[in-house]
């Protein structure tokens, strides 16, 4: 494959689609599929034939606005239809070339206008299982540029210049990580893509893998070239069957096109990727546990150093990045590091994909520039809290993050700003809570998650999370005391400071942040035996009434 051949594929694909007057894109991400968008696509295709329209019906990945699914996007008019049922197919197809169907039209301009799409630039526009669709939208151009025009050091320089930081949650500078692995000694090196996304309410990585898997593979190949690896692994949860099947198809096509394998693009560069499935352990998102899992061992973390960059998979230098990090690589190579660094805030560059869930109108996936105010994400893009309720808090960072109260919504979203107020950026889960959510109960929920997901290797995490869960349960059922609260705070400090890996070290965060901003709710439960939100099953106090038999 040469640059000319790649361009030829892109042109002929574009020419093929240009023959049609309309393109009907049907979202077939997991959300819309659960509402039978696959059947909808078939019905639409039949309708097009029946009505003799010159239109192409395409399966695409996620369009983002999951709350309004199934979604259908008609191009070139860019008309977006929401809640489309199979019975609407006839009307939709009939309207092609004329007035759009008003009652199905989705008019959430502000939802889309505030967003900046880099990672999601192809989501909802290409068929994720057609490599030529990806190539037609500049796919693999970046890999060719890197292999034929740049040195590995030049690639790393460009990534460093972009000031991209790891999107898995930690925010470690990607360029620095790459250069550490590149400098590590050893013939054999590995590149791993971490797709073990497991935070409750987070589905960014799943969506990227389902909607645009080639972009992740291209990012991995560029990384492999930069650090000197020839083998890669995508570690993805077995709970994401659609992502796995689309990835499998994507790897097969990339090999066929000569974009994976030996002597890629007639250069000495060899690279291939294997998929490894996670067996349902959240802790395997931690890099050393993930490596153990790929090696076929029990997925438990080990102390670092040595870091995987020095001694990782099978003791070899290993680069591990998150799905979203790899998805940012190709555009950075294509458009330059300075371009990327011009987007975002002072110390957090580029965009971030968030999964908006909870008590919010526009549930779904959004991609926003770093530094955007939380309020804009929630109110403008997310459409605010539905049913006349008021917003109480926003939870970011999943079980490792914290709850941000409504009065702090005007902070800009960046790694440092979120850290400063006791939460973290995390991988991008954003759960909105209103006045019907009890913050103690929320803390208990996340503690239960950490307790069941703890691997059990180190004592503070294994035993501490279970103890904290017991104490939180006491508080939520009205049997807690102020001594319990004091003990809870002691445990938070010990578990945070002494646990072996990130899971344990961050497990107390939901408790600490709710104690910081919603301490009165804890007191209300303990002292007045009341749950202000009316969520917790407070037990009636045992009274000394004696029934006197008649």
């Amino acid at each position: 494959m040469t640059a000319e051949e790649l361009e030829q594929i892109a042109q002929s694909t574009r020419a093929e689609y240009a023959k049609f007057d309309h393109e009907i894109n049907v979202c077939m991400g997991t959300g819309c599929l659960s509402q039978h968008s696959d059947r909808l696509k078939d019905v639409l295709a039949n309708e097009v034939t029946a009505q003799g329209k010159n239109a192409f019906v395409r399966r695409t990945g996620c369009m983002g606005l999951c709350a309004a699914g199934p979604l259908v996007l008609v191009d070139p008019e860019e008309t977006l239809y929401q809640h489309v049922k199979a019975s609407d197919a006839e009307t939709v197809v009939k309207s092609l070339g004329g007035e759009p169907v008003a009652e199905l039209e989705c008019n959430l301009r502000e939802h889309f206008e505030e967003q900046v799409h880099i990672v999601l630039e192809n989501s909802g526009h290409i068929d994720p299982e057609k490599i030529d669709d990806y190539i037609a939208r500049d796919g693999y151009k970046a890999l060719l540029i890197a292999l034929t025009e740049m040195t590995p050091a030049g690639v790393i320089h460009r990534i460093t210049e972009s000031r991209l930081r790891g999107r898995g949650g930690g925010g470690y500078p990607t360029g620095l990580k790459w250069s550490t692995v590149a400098k590590a000694t050893g013939e054999t090196k590995y590149v791993i893509c971490n797709g073990d996304e497991g935070d409750p309410g987070a589905f960014m990585d799943r969506s990227v893998l389902e909607s645009d898997p080639q972009r992740v593979i291209e990012g991995m190949a560029i990384a492999a070239y930069a650090v000197g690896a020839s083998k890669g692994y995508v570690y993805v949860r077995a709970e994401y069957p659609l992502a796995v099947s689309r990835l499998t198809a994507c790897l097969r096509d990339a090999r066929r096109r000569g974009l994976l394998g030996n002597n890629i693009c007639n250069t000495p560069f060899n690279f291939d990727v294997e998929i490894r499935l996670g067996a349902g352990a959240f802790v395997c998102g931690e890099e050393t546990a993930l490596i153990a899992s790929i090696e076929g061992r029990r997925g438990t973390p080990r102390p670092r150093p040595p870091y995987p960059a020095v001694s990782g998979l099978w003791g070899k230098p290993t680069l591990i990045n998150n799905v979203e990090t790899f998805a940012n690589i190709a555009p950075i190579i294509r458009n330059g590091g300075k371009w990327f660094a011009s987007i975002g805030s002072e110390r957090s560059k580029g965009t971030k994909v968030f999964a908006l869930t909870g008590k919010i109108k526009n549930t779904g996936l959004v991609e926003v520039p770093m530094g955007i105010k939380l309020r804009e994400i929630i109110e403008t893009i997310g459409g605010g809290v539905p049913d006349g309720h008021t917003l109480k808090a926003v939870q970011t960072g999943g079980p490792s993050g914290g709850c941000i109260p409504a009065n702090l919504l005007d902070i800009g979203v960046s790694y440092d700003a979120l850290m400063a107020i006791g939460s973290i950026m995390g991988s991008g889960g954003m759960i909105v809570m209103d006045d019907t959510s009890c913050m103690v109960n929320v803390a208990r929920f996340f503690m239960e998650f950490c307790m069941t997901e703890s691997c059990g290797k180190c004592i503070p995490c294994r035993s501490g999370t279970a103890q904290m869960f017991t104490l939180l349960t006491r508080i939520t059922d009205g049997t807690g005391t102020m001594e319990d609260l004091e003990l809870l705070e002691d445990l938070c400090s010990t578990v945070k400071e002494t646990s072996l890996c990130g899971l344990g070290q961050t497990a107390p965060n939901p408790v600490l942040s709710t104690l910081k901003y919603f301490r009165d709710e804890y007191i209300e439960h303990i002292v007045h035996k009341k749950c202000p939100a009316g969520v917790c099953p407070i037990k009636a106090p045992v009274t000394a009434s004696v029934e006197v038999p008649a």
Binding site: K457, C458, I459, R462
Partner: protein
């Protein structure tokens, strides 16, 4: 001094000490009679850094580091028993006592138990945490030994000695989090497992979780010191 010996000097608890490059903080501290509590560490076995009792403070780093796996660096300034560390150690020991059913007065290892002596040494006078009182099994199917999961602290010394020294890998850990337990083979009874009956696991067990049946009702001290000697003799061969 030969060229291939790289010596580092560092400060532990205000005392200047010297060490070979590659030595761990724990090794150097113990050489110099500075005591750091440990449970999962045992001379002769690989280190896993799991019990978190040997955490120490290193100047310039806010994060506590496990002494058993942290190697010495030139000029390091280490504190091994600050108030902060002592508080964490006591809570970790409390967690262990509350986690399973550790009732010293009716335990075969009473008086010879590493958990018990550590608690005394660290001043754990009572346990504030709620006892979990789990319902755990005792497996006495082996003709010589018994495993009592009520006393197990999941230090995995038995797992490591069986895999690394005996080479049998009969022991392993099953389940996760608070419901983890050590098992023999694929959770078979110990008596019908592939156990070689060498008894190393019993000797390295720090508590009364693994014990010799013939010692019930009598003093049951354990002798884990055989390990470094065994390793040394094997290397010499």
């Amino acid at each position: 001094m030969s060229a291939d010996v790289d010596v580092k000097t560092l400060t532990i608890d205000g005392e200047e000490v010297s060490a070979r490059a590659g030595q761990t903080l724990l090794e150097v501290a113990r050489e110099n009679d500075i005591s750091i509590p440990t449970l999962c560490h045992l001379d002769g076995l690989s280190d896993v850094g799991a019990c978190r009792l040997c955490l120490v403070e290193i100047e310039g780093s806010n994060k506590l580091q496990p002494a058993c796996v942290t190697t010495v660096q030139e000029g390091m300034v280490v504190s091994t028993s600050t108030e902060r560390l002592q508080k964490h150690r006591r809570i970790i020991l409390e967690m262990l006592f509350a986690e399973r059913n550790h009732i010293c007065s009716v335990c075969v290892s009473n008086g010879h138990c590493e958990l018990q002596s550590l608690a005394q040494e660290q001043g754990v006078t009572h346990v504030r945490l709620p006892y979990r009182n789990p319902d755990l099994a005792v497996d006495a199917s082996h003709e010589r030994f018994t495993v009592d999961h009520n006393r197990c602290i999941l230090c995995t010394r038995c797992v490591r000695v069986c895999a690394e020294v005996e080479g049998a890998h009969v022991w392993d850990v099953m389940g996760r989090g608070i419901s983890s337990i050590v098992i023999t083979d694929l959770h078979d009874e110990w008596g019908s497992s592939t156990c070689t009956r060498c008894g190393k696991c019993v000797q390295v067990c720090p508590t009364g979780a693994l014990f010799d049946k013939s010692k019930i009702g009598s003093d049951h001290p354990k002798y884990p010191d055989f390990l470094p000697y065994l390793n040394l003799m094997r290397e010499a061969q």
